[in-house]
């Protein structure tokens, strides 16, 4: 098994139009990045796609014990909720939260703020306007902020790390193992170098280390690539999530149901592949949104 890590420049690869538009507008305003972080100190506790209570997070969770929540961009307050029950009896698992209508048809959701702290007098919001205080209201595992970005034009959730400045993170994702399963047989690459010819279900255990774990599942990487004999057969990019027909799906390309992305024990499902007799090189790489990348490859004999 060969393993290597590298650090690349942060190159958002989702739809060019949104990135270019946001960065250009930020540049026009003299800013370096399209959006600012909503908290003064950034500790990413959960990334876009991180599993949490049977679902995957469609934003970024930031751990913080205290502090103020600031608007990431100019906009207008579109919805504010103090965290109690609505007149209809609908509770709020997002706790006290606010929705800010931003430029470019984006809406920012700031959730789990301290109950009673959410500004209800602002209508026009400037970048860095204070929206409330950090809290742990609603269904949140710890004090902090869940920030989500919704693209109104496309009707999907956008990974906020695409348009936020790079977080202080130089750790590459960790690839714990890759398993090939066929029937009731499972082979873990690295533990065996010879497997019979068959169609295998390929799964990987990958985590993106965090200094501030917040949710039940380990943070998801940004990109997962699987290559066999030099040909990329799977590319999973946690760029967008969209709900259609009552189901949540991830990825712009080859959108996949969130329920089918992982095994019950939390491994990423990377599809099925017929491995024919001979020698094969299987390479897996995982990259976070900062461009920290780790690649691992295995040489396998298929008999």
């Amino acid at each position: 098994m060969r393993s290597m890590t590298s650090r690349h420049h942060r190159i958002p690869i989702r739809e060019t139009w949104i990135i270019v538009g946001l960065v250009c507008s930020a540049a026009a305003l003299g800013g370096l990045w399209a959006l600012d972080w909503p908290l003064a100190q950034v500790k990413v506790a959960a990334t876009f796609g991180t599993p949490a209570q049977g679902r995957m997070i469609t934003g970024v969770a930031l751990a913080a014990g205290d502090g103020l929540v600031k608007a990431v961009d100019d906009g207008e307050l579109a919805f504010v909720f103090d965290g109690k029950t609505t007149p209809s009896g609908l509770p709020s698992t997002l706790g006290a939260f606010a929705v800010v209508e931003q430029q470019n048809d984006l809406a920012g959701v700031y959730a789990h703020m301290a109950a009673g702290s959410v500004s209800n007098y602002l209508t026009v919001v400037k970048r860095d306007s204070i929206l409330g205080k950090v809290g742990s209201s609603g269904w949140s595992e710890g004090p902090g902020l869940l920030f989500e970005l919704f693209d109104r034009k496309r009707g999907d959730w956008v990974n906020p790390l695409l348009v936020l400045p790079p977080a202080p993170d130089d750790k590459a994702p960790v690839i714990r193992s890759v398993a090939l399963s066929s029937g009731d047989k499972t082979y873990v690459l690295g533990e065996t170098s010879s497997i019979p010819q068959a169609t295998y279900r390929i799964s990987a255990d990958i985590v993106d280390p965090s200094d501030a774990p917040w949710t039940a599942g380990p943070p998801a990487p940004y990109t997962i690539r699987l290559s066999i004999d030099g040909t990329e057969i799977v590319r999973r990019v946690f760029d967008v999530a969209v709900a259609a027909n009552g189901e949540l799906g991830f990825f712009t390309q080859d959108t996949s149901s969130a329920t089918g992305l992982r095994t019950p024990d939390g491994r990423y499902l990377l599809g099925e592949r017929l491995l024919a007799r001979g020698r094969s090189t299987i390479e897996l790489s995982a990259e976070d949104a900062n461009g920290n990348r780790r690649s691992v490859s295995w040489s396998v004999t298929i008999r």
Binding site: A78, P87, S88, L90, P91
Partner: protein, 360 residues
Amino acid sequence: MEETGRRGIAVVVVVLAGLAYFLVCALPLPKELLLLPVWTRGLSSSPASAPTTATLSPGTEVRPFRTDANFGYFSPAGDILFSAPGPDGLALAKDSYATYDRLSTGFSVKAPNGAELFKVTMAGYPFFAAGRRFVLAPSQSAVTELDSGGAQRWKYEFSSVITAFGASPRLAVFGLMDGTLVGLDPSGKEMLTFASGGSRIPGIYGVAVSPDSRYVAAIAGLDRQRLVVLEKRSSAYRVTWHRWLDSDFRRPVAIAFTEDGKRLMFEAPGGVGVFESDTRNYFLVNSPTADRLGLSIIPRDILVLLTGSPDSKRLVCVAPPDRRLVDLPIQTDRTFIDISGDSIFLAVDDQLLRLDMREE
């Protein structure tokens, strides 16, 4: 002399005409509405001999109550089944309740007498409406409906954050941050999908469903905000009425149909807006800012509203469109109202009282 006679005749004619008017045309004075106190009960703690449904005579109706401090059940006759300190997490309905923690991964659904009906293991917050039981996922963009045994009936992922909700026994409608309404039947099948346009910023701030599911109403959008009423025709819901509003609410808005489905009431600047579904009439009942509505329609066409600011409320009874029959200030931040027939059940601070309406 002749002129004096004519003047006398004119006076007599005027007097007779006036008399005829009062006898023929005058309307009787309307009856006054009286609120007669029937009983008062303390809610600070359960009475030592609190009756349970087992000790109540079979078929006795029980109703839930909830103030900021307490919750429990009572009977219209004045029996308090129990009154317990209200937890932060509470789903309450006539037939059951559930308490839950902030990080709830499960809860017990209990009958009004405290007996456990079933347990549910699921992350999220339960909420009950129209005889149906739902669980809101931690993301606030997915909902599960439970069947009568607590098993999952369906689960639905919505396109964005749920901001409003209304339900009838046959239709649950969810309003979303992105301005969409999605209506699901008890099997989870989509019965309604509607994107409210026309406003600069889309959004749904309140949803109501008439008890017979015929009408769905929503407060939608910003700049400008509007009320949209959809009506089910054949098998589809279509916009049957809409009105641009003067409001600019950016928070959940109270909106509800009356029990007979003929009137829709909703928060409006300066009072409560009323839309009559049969006649398409709209009128405003002037009242201090309404932050929460206790609504009902009495058989005699009297609107009973609980309006006001969080710490100062008013019990208002109105004969449509604008004849105010009762306007009772209530200086408290702990208020609860429920209405059944001619009886109003009103909780003020630690007291629950029954007021019966009589016209005299």
